[in-house]
């Protein structure tokens, strides 16, 4: 618990808070100021908007400890505020609310618009209010209310100074470029258009392994060896066709630990296999189901193997709610690419692909490979 002292609606408040308590929970549960509403709790809906040091902010994305020494103003704290009085009257008149859930956030955002943008037209008001969701009114009443307050204020004699428009710039002249900013290109194959499982995400990858197909096929039957090439995978039990384990996934600050199981089918003649799996991460309450199809084809006159991989998966829970599909796709591709690099390294002892994002994993792998080599050479 951390001691904090802040001002809430002009009143001094002291409390002991857990750092993880966000400001909205603190206001509602400690200060009993339940006018601040919580809709989404991840910064999308705007219902929890309050003022922190006079600026509108999401109270679900700011923790109470961060407000130590600051001034917070909630919807309960505007009774003496003339703009808020005008907005309340206008919201009532224009049908700017129905159930009222979004209204505290709407009013605080609207007051900011009136103060900051005295020239805002209906379109600008819409844009500025886009961070506050309303499920009842269809927004029109809200826009009309804000517009009417702005219009009434503009008709008062207090003149608003508007900025002088800058002179229009001259058109761009043709020139010989010299100092462009470049970056090595990023290549990612096109995802296949059709999906076998409705609503599942699908991607295809292929990579080359520096061994003949039969040799690669044998290694793919060795479940611990395959698992060792998957970064973050820990195998807990397995037999010839099933495997259970854990998988830790990291993407920037995101970390998820999936526990799950998989069933493996192999077609020895066609050199094709299917891995069907499912897992869940208790921490984020995310669940995933997936299917990996792989197929081996000879390359370089049969001395090497091209592995074609088709991955299809569905993701549910917090990870899916947060993520845009491209990110999980990127993660999947990265796993396949790292798998290919690790597999090649394991097979030929080649240098690991330079991968600055996973120095630890790469190091860990080389170390275990080194230990394996020692065991192989000098007996166990």
């Amino acid at each position: 618990m951390t001691p904090i002292a802040l001002s809430v609606n002009g009143r001094k408040v002291q409390a002991l808070v857990e750092p993880r308590t966000h400001l909205a929970d603190f206001l509602r549960e400690h200060c009993r100021l339940t006018g601040t509403h919580l809709g989404c709790e991840h910064g999308v809906c705007g219902a929890c908007t309050v003022l922190i040091d006079d600026e509108p902010a999401r109270s679900c994305l700011t923790y109470a400890v961060q407000c130590d020494g600051l001034a917070v103003q909630t919807i309960e704290g505007f009774n003496a505020d003339p703009i808020m009085q005008e907005l309340r009257t206008a919201f009532s008149r224009e049908h700017g609310l129905q159930c009222g859930f979004c209204t505290p956030g709407m009013l605080i955002a609207a007051r900011d618009i009136v103060r900051r943008l005295p020239d805002a037209d209906a379109r600008r008001i819409r844009v500025e209010l886009s961070g506050n969701l309303c499920r009842c009114t269809g927004y029109l009443g809200i826009i009309n209310a804000v517009e009417s307050v702005i219009a009434a204020r503009a008709s008062k004699p207090t003149a608003v100074t508007s900025q002088a428009a800058a002179p229009p710039p001259a058109p761009l002249q043709a020139f010989a470029p010299t100092g462009e900013v470049a970056r090595a290109s990023m290549a990612a194959p096109t995802p296949a258009p059709e999906e076998a499982h409705k609503g599942w995400t699908r991607f295809e990858e292929s990579f080359v392994v520096a061994r003949p197909p039969q040799a690669v096929w044998t290694i793919f039957a060795d479940i611990p060896a395959v698992a060792a090439c998957l970064d973050g995978v820990e195998l807990t039990e397995h037999d010839a066709s099933t495997a259970k384990g854990k998988m830790t996934v990291r993407l920037g600050p995101i970390q998820a630990g999936f526990s799950g199981s998989a069933v493996i089918e192999r077609d020895d003649r066609a050199l094709r296999g299917t891995i069907r799996g499912a897992g869940s991460d208790r921490g984020t309450g995310s669940r995933t189901k997936g299917e990996i199809l792989y197929r081996l084809a000879p390359e370089a006159a049969g001395q090497q193997t091209r592995v074609f991989v088709t991955v299809e998966y569905s993701l549910q829970g917090a990870l899916a709610q947060f993520s845009r599909s491209g990110l999980v796709l990127e993660l999947g591709r990265r796993l396949v690419a790292d798998f290919a690099a690790n597999l090649n390294a394991r097979l030929v002892g080649a240098q690991m692909r330079a991968a600055p994002r996973t120095p630890f994993n790469a190091g860990r792998f080389l170390w275990s490979w080194f230990i394996d080599e020692l065991r192989r050479r000098f007996g166990r």
Partner: protein, 274 residues
């Protein structure tokens, strides 16, 4: 929707913040918290310690440094938005800032935090890459690196666990220089589905176009930028842009290609507007 437990530290200066990062396992910098907050609340991120740098005075400077704008990592999007008309040669910064998320997010979200977070759909990695901006990193060894090299992939940068972004240096455009920035969002303020930034400056010779909101890093369209610099409008037609994208950006499906073509074309229309 409540964050997992974490400890919280508000260091008094940058040195103290660096010491905390160096000494604590699982420490994470909290700048504006507008991207990290949702990840914490959804428990996708579970750091052991948050080091809150949002009030560090040393990270708040917004200075005219002659050929560049020197911007502290803790400068909020709203501050850059409100600096419209006062950032000579850095007008693009105000324009980009004003279109990030919503005002209540811009009031707390910071330029340094956005770069460190490196969301592929975010606006700063794209705009600052196109502007040729560089990041001043503080850590055991201070270093300076181009934004375009700093971003390594989705949510991945070259920032080490014991480093923080101190400031960003943004080269100014000359009076003859032009910029364009365009993004498609499902809804105003949402993350972009496609985005593009273009900077062309006859006086400095800079010609850069970047495509953003991909799965990884912002992608430079170098030869297209050079062609537009030499030939102007002809090289910026929808067909020319579409072709350039087909040649230099792989992994786009038909819809993505079409959106990418549109955002690049529209960014270039801003650059070439009479």
């Amino acid at each position: 929707m409540k964050a997992a437990r974490f400890d919280y530290l508000r260091p008094g200066d940058v040195g103290e913040a660096l010491a905390a990062l160096a000494n604590a396992e699982g420490a994470k910098i909290l700048a504006g918290g507008q991207s990290l907050g949702p990840m914490l609340n959804l428990r996708l991120a579970r750091p052991a310690l948050l080091v809150d740098i949002s009030r560090l005075k040393a990270l708040q400077q917004l200075e005219d440094a002659g050929r560049t704008w020197h911007i502290g990592a803790g400068v909020t999007h709203a501050r850059l938005e409100d600096a419209r008309g006062r950032l000579s040669g850095g007008e693009m910064l105000s324009e980009v800032a004003a279109a990030i998320a919503y005002r209540s997010v811009r009031n707390r979200g910071t330029i340094g935090g956005s770069l460190a977070h490196a969301d592929p759909a975010a606006d700063w990695p794209l705009a600052l890459a196109a502007l040729g901006a560089s990041v001043n990193v503080r850590g055991p060894t201070p270093r300076k690196i181009l934004v375009a090299h700093f971003i390594q992939g989705a949510f991945t940068t070259t920032l080490a666990a014991d480093e923080i972004i101190e400031s960003i240096d943004v080269p100014k455009l000359s009076r003859a220089g032009r910029y364009g920035f365009y993004k498609f969002c499902r809804k105003t303020g949402e993350f972009a589905e496609a985005s593009a930034a273009a900077v062309l400056d006859p006086e400095t010779g800079v010609a850069s176009i970047f495509l953003g909101a991909l799965r990884g890093i912002p992608q430079p369209l170098t030869s297209l930028a050079q062609q537009v610099a030499r030939e102007g409008k002809i090289a910026a037609s929808t067909e020319a842009v579409s072709q350039a994208l087909a040649q230099s950006v792989s992994g786009l499906d038909a819809v993505e290609h079409s959106m990418a073509t549109a955002v690049v074309t529209r960014a270039l229309m801003q650059v070439l507007a009479p």
